[in-house]
């Protein structure tokens, strides 16, 4: 047994942790920018008065949810450079993740907003509130609480989804694991470790969301 791990040193572990940092950075990027996209998509999908906008939002969501993330990463990564757009690799792999996040989270936003009872809107309107005031002070407090569980579900999926960036040679956690397993032949050990790190990122997210849910559920 031990001879299998001969070449496996603390440097390899450091390399994996570096990959994990890249993975986390990609998620942070995808989530922060993706949420902005999601908010726009979610709001135009619920805009009763502007059917044209609703259709655009619908088309966006269907396209990005209906095609594999892997393909989106390929197209963004190679397609952009074919178009002559030489972006830093981090940005190039982040773009499809942002758009993907925008589509899924956009649907979560839409569902959250639509789940707010009609009476809440009417109460706000009857007090003379504008759309923006209504959204911010009346709809958001209710909708955000509804959105938490599916959002965390998506976030966990996103963390795992970033592993697909390995196909374009970008060194994140999965690619880092692949490289080390090639040089050390400790494939099982390395990928068990990689899996454990993904789990170590995701599990606290689930825990945090459970706590948040309990805290926000008061007065519902």
């Amino acid at each position: 047994m031990p001879e299998l791990f001969v070449a496996f040193s603390y440097k390899d572990v450091l390399f994996l942790l570096q990959g994990a940092l890249v993975t986390i950075a990609m998620c942070a990027m995808a989530l922060s920018c993706g949420l902005v996209v999601a908010l726009v998509i979610g709001l135009i999908r619920t805009a009763r008065r502007f059917p044209a906008l609703r259709w655009i939002g619908w088309g966006y969501v269907e396209i990005f949810r209906g095609t594999p993330l892997l393909m989106q990463i390929f197209i963004a990564f190679f397609g952009l450079s074919i178009l002559g757009l030489e972006l830093p690799r981090f940005v190039a792999v982040s773009i499809p993740l942002i758009l993907y996040t925008g589509a899924y989270m956009g649907e979560i936003v839409r569902a959250g907003v639509e789940a707010v009872p009609r009476g809440q809107w009417e109460a706000g309107w009857s007090l003379g509130m504008s759309y923006r005031q209504l959204m911010r002070y009346v709809v958001a407090p209710v909708a955000v609480r509804i959105m938490i569980p599916p959002s965390v579900g998506f976030l966990v999926q996103l963390v795992k989804g970033t592993s697909l960036a390995y196909v374009v040679g970008y060194i994140e956690l999965t690619r880092a694991g692949y490289i080390i397993s090639q040089s050390t032949y400790a494939t099982m050990l390395v990928f068990t470790l990689v899996g454990a790190i993904y789990f170590g990122i995701n599990y606290p997210l689930s825990l945090a969301s459970q706590r948040l849910e309990v805290r926000l559920k008061r007065h519902a």
């Binding site: 109460a123 009857s126 509130m129 002070y137 407090p141 007065h219």
Partner: protein, 240 residues
């Protein structure tokens, strides 16, 4: 104060209001009665622009209500609306429910908004519930908070849409009491209700809506004592 001229409203192919014309003067309390589905709630919802109308004209204090215009927001500030299902904001305390619109719509400083909210909640008898969230209040208390919330905006006109229909019978009285006080204080009110006792005690005038039209209207005493319209007679008999 309030004027409806030949108002028509369709929901798709369904013609729900078929030429409603009515006026309400300042300080008057008008009670609207009629069977479920007769269109009485729809009238109230059209008055503050929650529903657009397709024909006719609605004027509140000299201003035309157009549900699609931005201006409707100004009118809504002056028209209080109380709903059957309370519609309190669940994550705000009673005090915050009442003060929220003062702060964001009327742009009042927080301290001023708070003191008005306290005053309004005192008026509906809820001074001891300022910090309670809606889920800790009974239906009657929630509805009184909703009334305080509408009153805080200092409206010229108050609309009540079957505000006691969702309440347990023993809680109806406390809400009607608040409304009666309000009427005696000179508030202009249009009240859709099934509470005939309240109508008799408080209303200056009663409108009977039947199939989207005003089938009969008149002073309260006359409507109940000597109804002329056949369907009104049947309605009153069925209720009493």
């Amino acid at each position: 104060m309030l004027e409806l001229e030949d108002v028509h409203k369709w929901f798709g192919n369904l013609h729900v209001l078929k030429g409603i014309s009515m006026t309400v003067s300042r300080g008057e309390v008008v009670v609207v009665i009629g069977r479920s589905g007769s269109g009485k709630s729809t009238i109230l919802r059209c008055i503050n622009g929650l529903e657009p109308i397709q024909q006719g004209r609605i004027m509140v204090d000299g201003e035309v209500v157009d549900a699609h215009s931005r201006h409707v927001r100004k009118i809504r500030e002056e028209v209080g609306f109380v709903f059957q299902s309370f519609n309190l904001f669940p994550y705000y305390t009673a005090l915050e429910n009442v003060s929220l619109a003062l702060k964001i719509v009327k742009r009042m400083p927080p301290a001023e908004a708070r003191s008005i909210a306290e005053e309004m909640l005192a008026r509906v008898g809820l001074s001891d519930k300022l910090d309670a969230y809606p889920d800790r209040l009974s239906g009657g208390q929630q509805q009184r908070v909703a009334i305080a919330r509408a009153l805080a905006m200092n409206p010229k006109l108050m609309l009540f849409d079957e505000v006691t229909s969702a309440l347990d019978p023993e809680l109806v009285g406390e809400v009607l009491k608040v409304m009666q006080d309000l009427a005696e204080g000179g508030m202009t009110m249009v009240v859709v209700t099934h509470e005939m006792g309240f109508a008799r005690r408080v209303a200056d005038r009663v409108l009977f809506i039947h199939e989207g039209q005003i089938a009969e209207e008149g002073p309260t005493a006359q409507i109940f004592a000597a109804p002329r319209n056949e369907s009104l007679r049947a309605f009153i008999e069925s209720i009493l």
